[in-house]
Amino acid sequence: MKDLIKKVTEAFGPSGAEGSVREVIRKEIEPYVDEIRVDALGNLIALKKGKGGKKVILDGHMDEIGLMVTHIDDKGFLRFGNIGGVNPFVALGQRVYFENGTMGVIGSERVDDPKDLKLEKLFIDIGAKSKEEAAAKVNVGDSCAFYQPFVDLGDRVVAKAMDDRIACVVIIEVLKRLKDAPHDIYAVFATQEEVGLRGARAAAYGITPDVGIAFDVTRTGDTPKARTMEVSLGGGAAIKVKDSSVIAHPALKNYMVKVAKEKGIKYQMEVLEAGGTDTSAIQMTKAGIPAGCISIPCRYIHSPCEMVDMGDVEACVLLAKALCESSLEF
C-alpha cells in the first residue's frame, strides 16, 4: 500500500484543479469497478455493482490545499490567495509547485512582530527576473500545491496531502478487496472539499444514496502538550461521533462500532472540535441521508508533512470493507 500512498499523495490537485490526481486514481480503480463517470464538478464517481442491496457512497476528497496566483508584480514575484485553510506560519519557507512543473519558494515581506504574519505579506518566488519572465511560466489564476516528497518511516509514513489522499487510498483498497458485496458501492473521489464540501454535495445529490460513509483525516492528541483529543496514532480506525460540521447519524455510528467489535478491528471514538468534512454534505442531501465517517488519525494536518500510521490505515480499510459486506441495517 505504501507505493500507492506515494503515488496518490504526490499527484497534483489543489481544489478546482484536480485533473492530474483524478487521472492517477482512475487508472488505479478501472480494473475493479463496473462504471466510471466524471460529473459536472469534476468528481470521479465509480460504481461497483452489488446484488440489489443498498446504495452506499464511500467518499474521500481528491483535492488538497494550495495557493492561487492573483498577481504578478513588476519584478516577477507572485502574490496569491489561499485555496482552503493555509496557515501563514506553515506556508512560510515552503516550496510549491505548479501543474506545469514550475517550482517556487514562499518568502515574506518584513514583519517585525511574528503576530503580524499574514498570507497577504507572503509571496512566491519562482526565480524570475522580470514580470515577463514570470508570466511566461505562470498565469494569474494558476494554482500551486505544497511540494514535499513521500517519506517512509516504517510503521508511519509522511506526505503532503494525506488530507485527504490517504482516504482515497483506503477507498481504492476497499474496491480492490471487495468481492460479492450485497450493496451498490459508489466510490466518490470528490473535488473542492477544502473550499466548502462542494464536490461531495453535488455527487451525493446526483446519486442520492441510502447510506453515506465519508473518509477523512482527523487530528491526534498524542504529541507534546497537544490540545485535548482522544484520538492517537496507532489507536485504530477512528469512528466519528461529531465534528464542527456534522453529528454522525447515531444509529449508523453505533453500528460501525458493533461491526468493528465483531470483526476484532482496532477502533477509537472521535470527537473533532474544529474541522468539517464531506460527511455533512452527504447528510444534508435532499430529505436527509444517514451518514457517518471513518477517520484516519493524522498528525500535522494542513502542513506539508502529514503523518499517518500504517496500522490505522489498514484498520480503516478492514472496517470499511466489513461495513460494505454487512447488512447495513441499523
Binding site: 478546482g16 459536472a40 462542494r198 455527487a203 445529490y205
Partner: protein, 338 residues
Amino acid sequence: MELRELTSLAGVSGGETEIRNAIMKELEAMGVPFETDIMGNVIARKGDSGPKVLVDAHMDEVGLMIVHIEKNGFLRFWPIGVPPSVMVSKRVLIGKDKVPGVIGAKAIHLQEPRERESVIPANQLFIDIGAKSKEEAEKKVKVGDYAVFDTEFEELSPGIVKAKALDDRIGCAILLDILKEDWKGIQLYAVFAVQEEIGTRGARVAAYRVAPDMGIALEGTVCADIPLADKDAYATKIGHGAAISIMDRGSIPSKTMVAQIMKLAKEHNIPVQYREATSGGNDAGAIQAAQAGCPVASISVPCRYIHTPFAVASLADMKAARDILVLFLRSVEGGFRP
C-alpha cells in the same frame, strides 16, 4: 432601460419591489416572457434548444433597515451590507415615499479625543427625518422600512459614471441588453435575482428551479485602484476591461469556461482583465451548487467604492463585459461546452 434609471430605483435586499417592478415593466415592453418565483426573483426566457445557460444579475443593493423609532423621533437602523466607516453624515431616502433623512452622530466638538480614533458603529448612529416625536415620525415611516443612499447619477467625465447601486444594476443593465438579441442555440434563463447581498439567497432558489448546464454571474466588482490601496493589490482597474474571476469564497470558476472567455476576448479585441482577488462571493456560488452541480464563471464590471453610498465605473468596461458575454454565449450556441 438606462443605467441612470436602474441605479436610481430603490431595492435593498429583501425590499426589491421598486426595482423589480421596473424590470418587469421593461421586459413586458421588450416582449420577453418571464416569471416571478416565491422569493421574488424575475426569470426571463429566450431560446428553445441547446444547453440551459443561466445568466444572473442581482437586483438588490446595500442599504439600511429602520429597526426602531425613539420617543424623540430619531430612527435607529441596521446596515445591510454597508460598512460602518461610510455611514455618518450621509443622506438617505426611506421607504416607498422616499422620505428624506440624514445620518447624524455626535458632533466632533462634543466627542472625547479617544472617541475620534474609532469608526462610529451603527448602533451609535441614527437617522433624523426632522420629526420631533415618535408619533410624528410614525406618520411618515415605520419599523421595517428600507432606506437607500440619496446619491445622484452623474457622468463625471466622458464614459465614467458615478451612481449608487452600480453593484449590481450594471449587471442588470447588461442582462436586459442581451435579452434584446435573438437566442436560438441555447435555452437562456436570465435571472434577475433578489437577496444576493445577504447570502446569494435568490439565486440559490432560482438555480435549483432551472437546473442549468452552466451559469454566468454578472457583477459589479471590487476595484481598489486608488491611492489608499497597495499598487499590487488593486484587484481590478477602471478602464482596463471586463473583470473575469479566477476564484472567490463562493466558487472556483470552470477553468475551461474562463479559458474560452479569455480566448474569445483576445480574438475579438475585447479588453478584459483578471479579477485579481480571491475574496468576496457572488451568485455564481449559489448557481454552481444547484442540484447535481454545474460549471460557472463570473464576468464583472470594476466598480470603485462598492457597498458605499456611491460607486464609479467605466461605460467602456460595461460594454466590454456585455460584448464578451455575448461572444461567449454565441460560442455555446456554436458548440462550446465547459
